[in-house]
Point group: C2
Chain length 156, copies 2
DNA sequence: CCCCTATTGTTGACTACGCAACTAAATATA
DNA sequence: TATATTTAGTTGCGTAGTCAACAATAGGGG
């Protein structure tokens, strides 16, 4: 196994730091407008995009960046706040669905412009078309290689 | 202001998810080998690279992804664990330095191979030379644009 | 020199999250 | 069909992190 080069390390640091800065800034923008934080947003949008605005918790966890316990708690909180509703599954007695409520959808619509503006300003706009395309390519490669790794783990 | 496109949104999602997956995996690798978590590592390496292995807490906070209170607590913790030492500043009565200890450096040396392997395997290796270079370019653009934004904020 | 403002770092109160152990239901095995 | 294994989600417990308020010091004007 080859050693990591200075160059690679430098890129890595940009990756980590840039990610943190952008997320932080978007989070700040959302908070300033009294909107939901990103993790919440991610759950709501995942539900919104799902057929019938409903998803099993297990599917939901894959769409987010949380652990399953983290997601379980978050979903409970959001249910308490009325942004979604929990329903137990009929097909599977262990399972539960999270279902987007009208309030949840409203909140989503309010948060989205702010989030979108963040993505546009902090992430999309500073890049040229070329940069954007090659960033996509690179991220896709990385994502695929991580996904594969995750599957190997599960096979253990 | 232009709306964010589907394409841009898709890249953004890869960005967030990929980052999370890689960090998570490296964190896991470190924990499996009973080594310090990434935030700790970041502090130790920043000190290691600093002249005389010492930095003001204010400088340190910029090298990490923590808030200043978060950093303050982390530094306290690390001091308790003996990985660094806190020294109050002579030039500035309010200030404090974090200074890397021998134990801290030892820990650093133990953690580094695992971390490096993670960067190599999950981040560097899956990319072609071209991808790597353009990723660097793109990240650099993003970083610079965020840095500028941060400076505007401070000027408020 | 004294006061006013800015800066450095800490602290109290709180929250979100992870891990690991758990319950309950589903599925495979025998 | 009885038992073992796997899977879905929850929960107890601990920790790390944030924000906002704070103390202490620094650095100007007047």
């Amino acid at each position: 196994m080859e050693r990591v080069s200075e160059h690679e390390l430098a890129i890595w640091r940009y990756f980590v730091k840039t990610h943190a800065l952008i997320i932080e800034q978007i989070e700040l923008d959302l908070a300033n407008q009294k909107r939901v934080p990103l993790t919440t947003y991610d759950v709501l949008i995942a539900l919104y995009e799902a057929p019938e605005q409903r998803l099993r918790l297990g599917e939901l966890v894959h769409k987010t960046v949380l652990s399953k316990s983290g997601l379980s708690r978050l979903v409970d909180r959001l249910a308490r706040e009325g942004l979604l509703r929990k329903e137990k599954s009929h097909e599977d007695g262990r399972g539960a669905y999270a279902v987007l409520t009208d309030d949840g959808e409203r909140e989503l619509r309010k948060a989205w412009p702010i989030y979108a503006k963040g993505i546009k300003n902090y992430f999309a706009a500073p890049l040229s078309i070329d940069q954007r395309n090659s960033l996509q390519q690179a991220l896709y490669s990385l994502y695929e290689s991580m996904k594969q790794l995750g599957q190997e783990d599960e096979a253990t």
